[in-house]
């Protein structure tokens, strides 16, 4: 049985149709890369799957539960890590994680224990009681990761989890995702970093303008598109590579003029 089931999902902001009928079934224990250009509808899909946005057409089931009817139940079983460091910067990581943990009904002792250990593993224990206003993007991203995982969720949704992380942290996060998969968790994430997606995903879904353009393992995508790398497949599906080239040429021409 699939752990995520999306049937004919449509979503509009005002009159602007962002998702135009998405159909997806995702099996438990997979790492799914969900990629597409800006404005393709990635974040919107993730928000609907997490029960954050409940105004949409079609049906969405997560772990067999309707995300509209059982939003609370869904939210407590999944972890959501939003993009671009959306957190209360005036708090310290310890305070923020305590806040976030309590909203998952965890008790104080568990939160404190887990928080300390996880912060140490992420090399943040020395700044654990410093307010996050002075934190770099990567440090905030680490705190967000912890806050989305602290309740040990079954499915983890990540929106651009690697943005702002330094090279070592990217490797660490990749490794954590791989370990989570071994532990039987399902991971659904969006990203712009193609070579990472290419390497760690069991399944890659490319969407553009609210529609699924390609879906399968990297090998399958490669065979269908006759292109070498994910980046090439991506531009061939979502953009116009001849157009890109001529834009670049025009750019140089203007500089020379």
């Amino acid at each position: 049985m699939s752990i995520i089931q999306i049937t004919d999902l449509k979503k509009a902001y005002d009159t602007n149709l962002v998702l135009k009928g998405i159909n997806l079934e995702i099996a438990a224990g997979q790492i799914v890369g969900y990629i597409g250009p800006n404005g393709a509808g990635k974040s919107t899909t993730i928000k609907i799957l997490c029960g954050i946005t409940s105004e949409f057409e079609g049906s969405v089931h997560v772990m067999g539960m309707d995300v509209r009817k059982d939003a609370m139940e869904v939210k407590s079983k999944i972890g959501y890590i939003p993009e671009l460091a959306a957190l209360y910067e005036a708090l310290t990581p310890v305070e923020y994680l305590k806040f976030s943990g309590k909203l998952y009904n965890l008790d104080d002792a568990t939160i404190v224990k887990k928080t300390n250990e996880l912060l140490r593993l992420f090399d943040l224990h020395e700044k654990a009681n410093t307010r996050m206003t002075s934190y770099s993007k990567g440090m905030k991203q680490k705190v967000l990761l912890i806050s989305g995982l602290i309740h040990n969720p079954e499915i983890i949704f990540l929106d651009e989890p690697l943005s702002g992380l330094d090279a070592n942290a990217v490797i660490l996060v990749k490794e954590i995702l791989a370990q989570l998969k071994i532990a039987g968790k399902t991971i659904f994430y969006s990203s712009h970093i193609m070579d990472v997606v290419e390497k760690i995903s069991d399944r890659i879904i490319i969407i553009d303008k609210g529609e699924v353009k390609a879906d399968g393992t990297f090998e399958e995508l490669k065979n269908n598109a006759h292109e070498g790398s994910l980046e090439n497949i991506f531009t061939s599906l979502t953009g116009d590579s001849a157009q890109t080239q001529s834009t670049a040429q025009d750019f140089i021409n203007v500089l020379n003029s």
């Binding site: 902001y13 997490c50 939003p82 959306a86 806040f99 309590k102 909203l103 009904n105």
Partner: protein, 557 residues
Amino acid sequence: MDKLILRFVLFIVKTFLKKDVDFEKLKIIAETKLILDRRRVRLAMKNNAAKKEPGNQILVTLIVYGIMGLFIAFTIPIIKDIVISMTIIHCYVLFMMAMTLITDFSSVLLDTTDNQIILPRPVNSKTFFVARLVHILVYLLQFTIAVALFPIIFTFIVHGFFVGLACIFTILLTVLFSVFLTYLLYGLILKFSTEQRLKDIISGFQIVMTIVFAVGFQIVPRLFKVDKLMHFTMPIHWYTYFLPPLWMANLLESVKTFNADVPHIAMIFLAITVPLFTFWIMIKFLAPSFSKKIAALGNAGDETTSEEKNAAAHKIPLSEKLSPILCSNKTERAGFELAWKMTGRDKSFKIQFYPSLAYIAVFAFVFIFSSSKNYAATWHNLPNTNSFLWFVYLPMFTISTAIGLIAFNENFAASWIYFSRPLQKPGSLISGALKSILVKFMLPVVIILFAFAYYVWDYKIIDDFVLGIFNNILIFMLLSHISKSYLPFSMQPNLKQQTGKFIQVLVQILVIGALVWLHYLAIKVWWLVAALIPISAISCYFLLRTVQNYSWQKIAT
């Protein structure tokens, strides 16, 4: 204080708790929100608390409010008529609460991070709603207590127990009404305007708020000297029916005098029903549509603004029209235009600088009338004095603060651009910025002061003003020259901002004092003022050249 109030509010909530509200989650959300309130840096108070990690910002604000309240509370024993004093008190409460809600709490109301942080967690919408309500209640109560504590105490003392009780009641009604006004304002702005515009308007209110604080502490104590105001009475006119603070004041008068004639009963009726009715309208109609709009803020595209922007791009801004006339090279023009635009847009500059402009009016008033009790006679005698020298040199005390301010900006890191460009004489950037301030701020101020002085003293002050303008520029340039030469907007705020201030102020006072004294002496010889003009002008020119030619060695970082 917030924790105490929170406990009180939570206690009440717990007793009326509905079954689908999760009390533990409610509590942690409200607590966290209050911590965030405490730590939010309030721009209006920035000067007072230049610390890196604000411990309890809100407490500082509350204390300032409390002191302000103490000032205002003195109207109660001093002013004889209860209607007048209570009108002042309620006006004050209404104004302060509405302003606080607009300027400070707006950042809470307009914050969409909640959607990203709390919505993904298993918190049901009832709990979330009640948590927000509790937070707003605690916030309002804190400020109500700070604003109204002293006025209420004074009312109990002066007017007795029952009027005091009634006063608590009318102040709460006034607070309700101020909440309604705030929502109404937001609703209107969001309906007819964009999000960016809303932020601009809010920062405008913040500037007004800072000015009111700055000026209020100077003016209010002086008002008590005005005898007329002390014995003024205020019967009910037709317009009384449109002014909420007057309803409250008349209600209190009725309580005090047991007066229950028809107009007073109408007043009491209005005082009680209107705030409650408008509050009901707010909860029923305004708040829901408002929260929908807020939720949409994050998602709305900027399609509407691109057209306006294109239209604006075709018009050459004033700064770019002026710079070729006033600046001698391209680097200087760049500095001029940058400073002109940034001073108009950077909120922290505006909040720190604009109140000092308002001080000019306060100083003018204070200097001229400081010693006298009889304003009319002083005013009458004014043309025979040399007080116009105050008007000539007033701009200096305030405009020169901009020299320090333009060096600092939140976006200081962007100054890499100066260092990566092939600039021979970076001093031109500074001189351009200085010219920008002179033209944008000093010129209008001088014109207004001149117009006023001309009205009072007639043509005989023209030569003094011309000399004064050059002397002002001279002092301005000199201050810039002796203080550290930072490139415009290149320094991190709060770190170096305070250092060296004392010396600068000392030199400022000495130089200004010397020049004003010389000018004062020169007035006695009829041709001397005119003769000094070229000397001052030439000195200005040479100082300007010096600044323009600063090399990289002279630039402080």
